[in-house]
Amino acid sequence: MGSTIAEKILGAHAGSGPARAGDVIVAGVDFAMLHDARASNALQRIGEFGAAQLPFAARTAFVLDHYSPPPHQEAANIHREMRAFADRHGVVFYDVGDGICHQVLPEGGHFTCGDLVTGTDTHSTTYGAFNAFGVGVEGTDLAAVMMTGKLWFRVPETIRVDLKGGLQPGVWAKDLTLHMLGRLGAEGANYRAIEYAGPAVAAMDIDDRMTLSNHAAELGAKAALLEADQKTIAWLKARGAREPRPVRADADARYCERFEIDVAALPPQVARKHRIDDVVAVPDVKNQRINFALIGTCTNGRLDDIRQAAAILKGRHIAKGVRMIVTPASRNVYLQAAREGLVEALTAAGASVEAAGCGTCVNITGHLITGDGDVVISSANRNFKGRLGNDNSEIYVGSSATVAASALTGRITDPRDVVGGTWRPEPKTA
């Protein structure tokens, strides 16, 4: 019997032959990530262990992205502690403004196809877009990896999703992940890995593929794995990653569930207030007023997101009474957006473009706070009640195209109904 991508990657890292779903293994990790919101716990655990030497430090990145910039002294002090610790042990370091962990890790070429990557964040599934087993863990796990280079894992069952057809212009991977959430429910893939495959994935650029793997975290997925193709390999090599060794699923791999989605007919989707799995087509809520628009986060803060927004807003202005924030996912994304004139176009259109970081996701820095009755449209990944600091506000979640189109009109708007809303990236190789 054949193996899934998850079984192959985990088995290869356990060094004990092929792994099977349900096995518990101890596996060697290739790269690890700790961000500032989980650092105090992890560093405390390392302290309890009393490890003087951390052999895995050079293969660990610390990323200061959540408290970016730090909103209180406690956060600023955690940042000081992380800087000093990283200096002392030779940890790879990304400071405030460098970007979101899930963007800077692949941009930094820190891992490649077939790798096992652990990060202290549920959206570590993002690395699956590069055919790596990216999985979220907690501080104790991270401490164990830094101290020993290894961690225990339960090998997950896999749900295989074959994506047929091609997404219409104006429809993005985000619309697909929202559709999946509507179909399976939040946590509908709890404990399990997802493999996305098929022509619709092949047609996606890397930015959109990262959204596909990233947003699987809201499905509860442990990993969200894509096969590597020439686009993946060229992208990784251009960023100095180790030689990619793509891992494919066997034709006779055993899946706990397998289904097909024809994406050609899929309209833009939004999740309605408070529940990420209360998903409807944009046309069903198109008269809903909004007064706060957010583009950014590890889910949708990449260059193609900012390009979509600029394609819609360039030379125009967001609706009266709407506030809009755009947060690039990394310094590299910010720089390229500036070079392409996107920062200028969005700023002139009434948006505020902020320094790279987790900024637009949750009211952790205090500057996203909403008022009573505010209605938000966001390209983020979650919309729990109170996520933006006020239980009496509502958050809708959609693609960056839907957010920009809605900012333009002041109502939830189908991007296909506005000029520029069907913008598509130029074909590119890296």
């Binding site: 349900g22 096995d23 518990v24 101890v26 989980r38 716990n41 655990r45 309890e48 262990f49 202290t120 549920t122 979220g136 863990v137 907690e138 501080g139 104790t140 796990d141 401490a143 164990a144 101290m147 020993t148 290894k150 225990w152 946590e187 709890n190 404990y191 509860g220 442990k222």
Partner: protein
């Protein structure tokens, strides 16, 4: 083998919310352990007898990645948790912090029923109700981590992860 009296909670318990300092900003774990789950079940923590077992529905610890929740459960004296299903990271946090957890449905059990958890043998039983449930026996590695009281103490004793 763990034996303890059941303390019942429902489905989709978010431990980030109900078993953390979110409702008690600035308070330490000892304080929070006296007030955990208050919004769901008034007096739950105060009535919790040390050595008790939490019995819950589906998705216990959903969306919860904070290990603080398990530290607080330990302070409350929770000896084990039986739930229909667990949030993935919460389950890892249980193992890594020496909290026995078993996945099975104990519908019909009420507060005070005596629960028996045999994770090595793969069995959860409630003798007074004639309930015996098979659960997948824990692999030796995970049993060793639990027996050591968590992952960090386990690695102190077994820095190479090898268990004899």
């Amino acid at each position: 083998m763990i034996r303890g009296k059941a303390h019942v909670l429902g489905d989709d318990i978010n431990t980030d919310l109900h078993c953390s300092s979110k409702y008690h900003p600035g308070r330490d774990n000892a304080y929070v352990s006296q007030h955990a789950f208050e919004q769901l079940s008034p007096g739950f923590a105060k009535c919790f007898a040390k050595g008790g077992v939490i019995v819950a529905g589906k998705n216990f610890g959903n969306n919860s990645s904070r290990e603080q929740a398990v530290h607080i459960l330990r302070l409350m004296g929770v000896a084990g948790i039986v739930a229909v299903s667990f949030g993935r990271q919460f389950y890892r946090n249980c193992i890594n912090n020496g909290m026995p957890a078993a996945e099975c449905d104990l519908a019909g059990v009420t507060d005070g029923d005596e629960i028996e958890m045999d994770l090595a043998g793969g069995r959860v039983a409630v003798a007074s109700r004639g309930i015996v449930r098979e659960v997948p026996p824990l692999p030796a590695e995970v049993q060793a981590i639990l027996a050591a009281g968590g992952l960090i103490p386990f690695l102190k004793a077994h820095p190479d992860w090898k268990i004899a």
